[in-house]
């Protein structure tokens, strides 16, 4: 497989490699032979209409839904072929921010961040407290948020706390499911900036499902578009703007997109 890749050391260049993945529920096929590469160290924005299977692909990569065909490799390792122990080691390199945060409601923010550390590592309580508070500070939450329960937090704070938990084990890949949905424009812009900063600082690979055009333009290195169960286009913002696929055209040249587009407006046909 390495001879096909543009990089000499393909194992290192591709963080997630998806090949011919099919996922269906009942008789309905959601993903039909989907191919996708996520390069190491990039922010990939994943777009698609509602109900086209963006979240399904994320869940398939994370192993939360079963695929009926195809292959998914994370850092060159096929998760299905790995023994459970090594599979767990790969999974520990992935951090996930769920759409609703998915913080454990019975635990404080501090305890939430410590859950993965407690389960996987053998650290003293003092160090776990310090590292969890560091993560909480890094995502821009005030120190007193650490001892609050998720029910006491606002929507934006929940996303930040969930991001702190996703970063608890210093993952290499971060999965974000609509990170800015439900946030006000200021909060969403702050969150975008936070993700960009963390991505640069920690050298993360970010796989981001989003509807937010601002996020796509401001922090994504590449964008992949999903329609009819396949990736119909992938590339930089400029490449997507030049794409002729009708769905991509309507997405990137729609009324909302035109206001944001940094590129000169192409003439309408």
């Amino acid at each position: 497989m390495s001879d096909k890749a543009p990089f000499p050391n393909a194992q290192d260049a591709i963080a997630i490699r998806v090949r011919g993945v099919e996922v269906g529920f009942g008789s309905r096929l959601i993903l039909r032979g989907l191919d996708l590469d996520v390069k190491r160290g990039e922010v990939l924005g994943f777009v698609g209409g509602s109900g086209t299977g963006k979240s399904v692909l994320t869940r398939a990569i994370l192993g939360l839904v079963n695929k009926s065909a195809g292959r998914i490799e994370i850092f060159g390792q096929d998760l299905d072929a790995l023994p459970p122990r090594e599979r767990q080691a790969v999974e520990r390199r992935c951090g996930v921010l769920f759409q609703q945060g998915a913080l454990f409601s019975g635990l404080t923010v501090l305890q939430n961040v410590q859950v993965p550390m407690r389960e996987y590592l053998n650290l003293s309580q003092g160090l776990m407290d310090e590292l969890a508070r560091l993560k909480i500070a890094m995502v821009g939450l005030r120190p007193d948020a650490a001892d609050k329960f998720p029910s006491e937090l606002s929507g934006g704070m929940i996303k930040r706390a969930a991001l702190a938990r996703a970063l608890a084990l210093d993952p290499d890949i971060l999965f974000l499911d609509e990170p800015t949905s439900g946030l006000d424009p200021i909060g969403a812009a702050d969150f975008d900036e936070l993700i960009a900063t963390l991505q640069k600082t920690l050298g993360l690979t970010v796989f981001m499902v989003t509807h937010d055009l601002d996020s796509l333009y401001s922090i994504c290195d590449r964008i992949a578009a999903l329609a009819d169960g396949r990736v119909i286009a992938a590339g930089t913002v400029a490449e997507m703007l030049a794409n002729e696929h009708p769905w991509v055209r309507s997405y990137f040249h729609g009324k909302r997109a035109r206001r944001l587009s940094p590129a000169p407006q192409p003439a309408r046909s």
Partner: protein, 376 residues
């Protein structure tokens, strides 16, 4: 290549050089021990140099621990320097720099005060429950009066729908449990009374016990668990999703729209179910009396006719609407008390069932005293 984190101490002109190597990452084995050793190894010299050129990897945890040692040395009066850090490491060391987190210790009062507070809050909670129950009863009654003046406001479809789900669909399970209880009472009655040669008196026992107490009590408890929880969950889920508020802004009274149909449906369903329960339990007693006690159905029915009168049957049936009212009231109050989270919904459903069953038994006790006093 070393994988585990480690460091070497080298003396340098007027100071110390700490050469770090290996992977200083959170999952590296022995990271914490090495970090503690590093903290000890950076004492108050004039110069302490942290040499990162041999580092294989570092993440925020590693950066935090290295910076903690640097910070400790700096606080002890040493001049600290970083050497051989790549730009990525420098950013990481800056972002994950060591800092003191203010510890927010939870306030701890005396255990006695906490206990008394809890007792007081619980007592106040009971008073609150009583108050909100009364308020709610008032709202239901005023809604019923409005409907009585203008019967077109009654949501008949809703009443019939709930009658189906609280009544008809509860029929199999209510019939079954009362049939079984009738069997058990008959078996025990015959078994215990035959020592005195009075096995046929088991029929009196079954007739009176089932009709006066058991059938209505078991039916009410079953309905509280089955339909009371459903009412709380339905209304609570609507409260959570702001559907109740949506009704209010449309000018509709949630009590009239949601509670009155359920209240009426339960009021009709519970007496009907109690009647079926009476019959099922007596039928169970009859079968066991026949098969186990040798009491033929003719003798059973004959004795039953002597043992009970219409009042025995009515005592049980009169209680049923009161039970229905209490169950509907408690489950609706709890449903409206649901707050935004799913957790609160679960708590309220549990509270609704527990309180409803408790109140059903309390009311049964009150009625027993009442009927004993008026000798009915």
């Amino acid at each position: 290549m070393t994988v585990n984190p480690s460091f070497a101490t080298e003396p340098s002109p007027d100071g110390l050089r700490l050469r770090l190597s290996g992977r200083w990452t959170i999952s590296a084995p022995g990271l914490e021990g090495q970090a503690d050793a590093l903290l000890m190894a950076a004492p108050a010299r004039r110069h302490v140099i942290f040499d990162l050129s041999a580092l294989a990897a570092m993440d925020t945890a590693g950066a935090w621990l290295i910076d903690r040692a640097r910070d400790a040395a700096a606080k002890a009066g040493a001049e600290t320097m970083l050497e051989g850090a790549t730009s990525a490491y420098e950013i990481l060391l800056q972002e994950a720099r060591y800092r003191d987190f203010e510890k927010t210790e939870p306030q701890r009062g005396s255990a006695l005060v906490a206990l008394l507070t809890k007792v007081g809050l619980t007592a106040a909670g009971v008073a609150d429950d009583l108050y909100s129950g009364m308020t709610f009863l008032g709202q239901i009654v005023s809604a019923l009066l409005r409907i009585a003046r203008n019967p077109a406001r009654l949501r008949m479809t809703s009443v019939v729908f709930h009658l189906d789900s609280f009544g008809l669909r509860a029929l199999p399970i209510i019939t079954l449990i009362n049939f079984l209880v009738g069997c058990i009472v008959a078996q025990q009655g015959i078994f215990q009374l035959q020592h005195f040669g009075a096995a046929t008196f088991a029929v009196d026992l079954i007739g009176i016990l089932v009709l006066r107490e058991l059938a209505v009590l078991l039916t009410s408890i079953m309905v509280a668990g089955r339909s009371g929880s459903a009412i709380t969950a339905e209304i609570g889920a609507m409260k959570m999703r702001e559907e109740i508020d949506a009704l209010r802004v449309m000018g509709l009274d949630p009590v009239e729209v949601l509670v009155v149909p359920r209240f009426l449906a339960l009021l009709i369903a519970l007496p009907l179910l109690t009647f079926v329960a009476d019959m099922a339990a007596i039928f169970g007693g009859l079968l066991v009396g026949w098969a186990y006690g040798g009491i033929s159905p003719e003798i059973f029915l004959g004795r039953l006719q002597n043992a009970i009168a219409l009042n025995t049957f009515l005592v049980g049936l009169i209680k049923a609407p009161f039970m229905a009212g209490v169950i509907a009231l408690i489950s609706a109050v709890e449903g409206f008390a649901v707050q935004g989270s799913a957790e609160s919904l679960g708590k309220r459903v549990t509270a609704s069932v527990v309180k409803a069953i408790f109140m059903v038994i309390v009311i049964d006790g009150l009625f027993a005293m009442f009927f004993a006093t008026i000798k009915y």
